[in-house]
């Protein structure tokens, strides 16, 4: 376990633990439900298969993600500034240095993956290298490094295993229903199995998204405390998100009819908010503002 000096947030940790617990309970519920519905024969196989798929995903996460993003690993000679920045951040956080990758894409983005902090890869796109200033890039890298330190790939994989098993079981139950269509008595049981796994899949989907949003906020927070510059991450997020700025650039005097503003302020969280993997920009900026206020409190 890589011990590192990323700061901890107890409230966020509590909520994440609760979400993890609910996901685990869901997995157990699924297996028990299957035992009741299909009979004890299939359930352990499905559970093991679900865990197996999740394990494989986690084990090969670095290669799969790198290939999906068409990223290549770069040496310190190829990208000296990027490596230097990550070297210093890792020294600050007291964690092993991950490998560094660059993806040739114009979309500004960055991600971290890998089964453990020792095998991790931090990858940036060429788009983000062009879009961001040096201090903003450093803030984004600190965010990604805190994903590595928090072992987020492992956490998300474990959390998603219930969903994977449910997905497998839906398929299995469908084939089972086809194969045994002459045996009428087994049909309702198979239907129940399909229904249960559908529900499990849906619930685990929403919970996973919730967990993912917490992990993002947590990484924002840890990254901001590592660089001690929350404002750099804030400007970077605003640049990357491509959304309209949180506060308008228009002048008060050139816009006397500001009461008839065209862009409506976002109120409440709709379905989109429930299913998003990342928290809304405003929530992330508000958290960073609190961190900045904490950092800039006068000592005297």
């Amino acid at each position: 376990m890589a011990t590192s000096r990323f700061i901890k947030d107890t409230g966020l940790t509590a909520r994440m633990t609760l979400t993890m617990f609910l996901l685990g309970a869901l997995f157990v519920g699924l297996v028990v439900g299957v035992i009741y519905a299909v009979g004890p024969g299939y359930a352990p196989i499905i559970a093991v298969a679900g865990i197996g798929v999740a394990f494989w995903q986690w084990w090969s996460s670095d290669k799969v993600a790198m290939r999906a993003m068409r990223a290549r690993e770069v040496t310190p000679e190829e990208a000296p500034e990027l490596h230097g920045m990550i070297d210093r951040l890792c020294a600050l956080a007291d964690m092993p240095k991950p490998r560094v990758g660059i993806a040739d894409m114009s979309v500004p983005n960055a991600f971290a993956t890998g089964r453990s902090p020792d095998r991790a890869v931090v990858c940036v796109t060429t788009g983000i290298l062009q879009t961001l200033e040096t201090h903003e890039l450093e803030a984004v890298l600190a965010h990604e490094l805190s994903h590595v330190a928090h072992r987020d790939v492992l956490v998300m994989t474990v959390a998603s295993s219930a969903g994977i098993a449910a997905g497998l079981m839906m398929r299995g139950a469908q084939y089972g229903a086809m194969g045994r269509s002459r045996n009428n008595s087994a049909l309702p049981a198979v239907l129940v199995a399909i229904l249960v796994s559908l529900v499990v899949y849906a619930v685990s989907f929403v919970l996973l998204r919730l967990l993912s949003r917490y992990r993002e906020l947590s990484a924002d927070r840890a990254g901001a405390y590592l660089t001690l510059k929350p404002s750099a991450l804030a400007t970077a997020l605003q640049k990357i998100s491509g959304e309209a700025a949180l506060t308008p650039r228009d002048d008060l005097r050139s816009n006397p009819a500001s009461a008839l503003c065209i862009v409506p302020a976002l109120r409440g969280a709709g379905l989109g908010g429930l299913l998003a993997t990342h928290p809304p920009l405003q929530q992330r900026l508000e958290q960073l503002a609190r961190i900045q206020a904490e950092l800039s409190r006068p000592a005297g």
Partner: protein
């Protein structure tokens, strides 16, 4: 306020409460202790001048009124590129309550003489030791405050603005709609 009033076009505009300006001195103390920001000693009122002698006389009266004050702060009246007039009061940085009284006097005088339609905003700039500045802006039409922190030619320090809002939310009526936090580029004192 409802459909019936809207149908008759009798909606009541939001009433502002100018006395909120008197809450700024205590907010200034909070800002100093929590974020290290201090008032710069200046304050300004931005309004649209009306044509004619009546307005000119009102403006002269209010300038004379502030200059007659025992503290005798500097008062300047300038025009900006947008066609708005800024009445800037430069008082003592250690006396924000005197400054706010002056700003209140300007607002009420214009209001009492029937020029409240032209009043746009009042602003009290703050600065900290590292040179960051923001203007605590009072929107006359909404009766709410918001911070405006320019960080460059056309960029704003959103984090500073949000943290000022969080800090002062208990003391001042802060503007809840972020889209109304319109910029006031090149405001005097910023």
């Amino acid at each position: 306020m409802g459909l019936w009033e809207a149908l008759r076009a009798r909606t009541q505009p939001k009433r502002n409460n100018l006395d909120a300006l008197f809450l700024v001195p205590s907010a200034a103390i909070t800002l100093q202790t929590a974020l290290g920001f201090e008032p710069t000693g200046t304050g300004s009122v931005c309004y649209r001048s009306a044509a004619g002698a009546a307005f000119a006389q009102t403006q002269d009266d209010v300038v004379a009124l502030i200059r007659d004050d025992a503290e005798a702060p500097e008062v300047t009246v300038t025009q900006d590129d947008f066609g708005f007039t800024w009445l800037v009061v430069e008082g003592d940085a250690s006396d924000p309550s005197g400054l706010c009284t002056d700003l209140h006097a300007v607002n009420t005088t214009l209001e009492l003489n029937g020029f409240e339609g032209g009043l746009l905003c009042s602003m009290v700039p703050f600065a900290n030791a590292s040179g960051q500045r923001f203007g605590l802006t009072y929107l006359y039409k909404q009766g709410t405050f918001y911070p405006f922190a320019p960080s460059g030619e056309q960029s704003r320090d959103t984090l500073l603005e949000l943290s000022v809002r969080d800090l002062l939310a208990a003391e001042l009526p802060m503007e809840p709609d972020l889209q109304r936090w319109l910029a006031v580029w090149k405001a005097p004192g910023l």
